[in-house]
Symmetry: C2
Subunit: 390 residues, 2 copies
């Protein structure tokens, strides 16, 4: 098969807020080859990611992503790998390329899986897809009371694990302690409790460490992204000060090396990979293999649609002992409507990568129209990108 | 002063080739505040970088760079630092933000320096600007004979140092040995010889190490970017196998941490920072301080105009012992024409960061018009970016 087309669909809610809620817009990618279609989703700012696909070449190591994709052969996983290497080399100086490529790469696994009638996780080398315990992934409430109610609702909804994250966490020590106590109270004594600081401490290990006592008293399992994604030494420093809580991170990795370095130098206990950023399923699977070797737990990072969720579950679907997964439960309507199929909990309260061809998720064409953001990019009088109707 | 405007000028040669020559296009940034003007240059794909400035917000951690810049106070270096922190946090999920911000940050130092009548290197804390020995930075010839002639011409032109890089280096061991011998022959026995592999070996330490004998026989001082910019362990592995040649890298660092990790984990002997990528002069100066502490030599990375060259000289202008600098000598006409002032070698064959306000480089308005690429970006019927006349 030859790659015939790569189309981007930029979708957005009518109003976008400053909440750290990644489901407010979406960049969906459709790849066609040999009469088959695959779908992917970039976890990225849509406009620069589209620009990275269509931009005029700057020089040999700064070519648009399209140069390494359109017209290429896609007959198996090796072809995806070959294109990944080409994008990394040909678009070396184009920083946004990794994000753009991620959604395309994802769509290629979906397409290949559909063409062969097998799930993407099987193409990645797994024999089966093990169920995972989903943690309800939500934002902190503005006050501890709101958070308490949110945590109770999550427990009442049958979740055995929950992650609370981002603002107002980090704004005051007293406030953070109140938030941590509230989450534990709301979840009850048995719920697995996870905290996401959303990089609020920059690289200030002392400031982050002030929260450890309250975390350990409340039996927090991991403390996610206390620091800038590249500040490996800060992660390592905090890890040394913790007794029971482990550090977690990795969502900002835009290549395999960054995730592996966070394991080796940042000493995280949990490595969290977003397939919409790291370059897709291929490098994510390499990180999963590396995590197994290093005794670190692999987890998906997902805060968008069920298409992205399925994609991010594939790389560790076959790892029975890596048993928890991120599961956004408060998606904006756009992200809900984007797919007609949804990953819902089974009788055990678990979810898993679908046992269906490709990513196993059906796209809802009506959503692509309903939430469409019309973009046109004109360079020297020539239209080089224009949003398409589905 | 308040930031009144940030304008981008996308320039390009009429023809862009696949040569690894970064002077074929340019993204120039003009910042105005309090009646003063500063100029900067992003080392980046222009279109995605412009998009990163004007893109609609995706969510709180994925805001356009403009959100953290326009209308902000700019009265001193602390304000630049505050905006840098804001961009890193507010545009966390917008990968291209670092490249976009770099050119803006550069322009702010230029503007502040002009407003105060002092060079940027003085604002960075240096007492004086020491001259550097420029190495003529060129691409390998297609054959060893072409390279030989190029090296001879560089010696005849009075250069005491030269760097040859990129294709065809890496395509065959025999070819590479012939190229290395040719460069040494052309430069003569005394010339400082540097080699840039342009990441051609990916992370294959064995393949890169096969070139070490011929490098050491030809007294190569450093072996630059043998590997992917994030493959720290490969750099470390190669360094252990070398006897006299040192490894070099860092141009792909898009934040301070990445450069510091390349020093600590990649064990490079030379750290090469491009101010048009790492976030401007501020983080580059931090890396220079770190290099001094770690006993590593700091060098600029520059393959574009003299505006970018001056900017990249500022962060280590005051380091007397960090005495060589990259100096592109085969710039395309666009990059030559962009500035009316040029950094030319003095009687000792040396150059330095100018002893003049800001970056000390005058922009040529005619070049902004002559090489202009007209861009318009329209989102939902509204024009959110349109190239301006100067």
């Amino acid at each position: 098969m030859k790659i015939d087309s790569v189309d981007f669909f930029y979708l957005a809610m009518p109003e976008i807020t400053t909440a750290a809620d990644g489901s407010q817009d979406a960049l969906v990618v459709r790849v066609t080859a040999g009469g088959h279609t695959g779908w992917g989703e970039c976890e990225a700012a849509p406009l620069p990611s589209i620009a990275a696909f269509v931009a005029p070449m700057s020089h040999g190591a700064c070519r648009p992503v399209s140069d390494s994709v359109l017209g290429q052969t896609l007959d198996g996983p090796d072809d995806i790998w070959r294109m990944a290497v080409a994008v990394a080399y040909n678009s070396m100086d184009l920083l946004q390329a990794a994000h753009t490529w991620s959604g395309i790469e994802m769509a290629m696994w979906d397409l290949l899986g559909k063409a062969r009638g097998v799930p993407a996780w099987k193409l990645l080398g797994y024999e089966r897809s093990y169920p995972k315990v989903p943690y309800a992934s939500v934002l902190f409430g503005e006050t501890a009371d709101v958070t308490l109610a949110r945590a109770k609702a999550i427990r009442d909804d049958g979740f055995r694990a929950a992650k609370f994250g981002w603002a107002p966490f980090g704004s005051s020590l007293e406030g953070d302690i109140a938030q941590l106590d509230a989450v534990r109270e709301g979840l009850g004594p048995d719920g697995l409790l996870l905290i996401d600081a959303g990089q609020i401490f920059g690289e200030d290990v002392d400031a982050a460490a002030l929260r450890l006592d309250a975390m350990e008293r409340n039996r927090v399992t991991f403390f996610e992204e206390p620091f800038h994604g590249s500040a490996y030494l800060a992660y390592g420093g905090l890890g040394q000060r913790a007794k029971t809580v482990r550090t977690a991170g990795g969502e900002s990795a835009h290549n395999r090396h960054m995730a592996e370095h966070l394991i080796d130098f940042g000493k995280v206990g949990y490595i969290q990979i977003d397939c919409g950023r790291i370059g897709g399923l291929g490098p994510a699977k390499q990180v999963a293999d590396y995590a197994v070797k290093r005794g670190v737990t692999y987890i998906n990072h997902t805060f968008t649609s069920n298409l992205a969720l399925s994609a991010s579950l594939q790389p560790f679907a076959g790892l029975r002992d890596h048993a928890i997964c991120e599961y956004p439960t408060t998606l904006r309507q756009l992200a809900v409507d984007l797919t007609t199929s949804h990953l819902v909990r089974d009788a055990n309260g678990e979810i898993g990568a679908p046992d269906a061809p490709g990513l196993g998720i059906e796209i809802n064409p009506a959503a692509l129209e309903l939430y469409k953001v019309d973009v046109e990019i004109i360079v020297n009088g020539k239209s080089i990108f224009r949003s398409k109707a589905i």
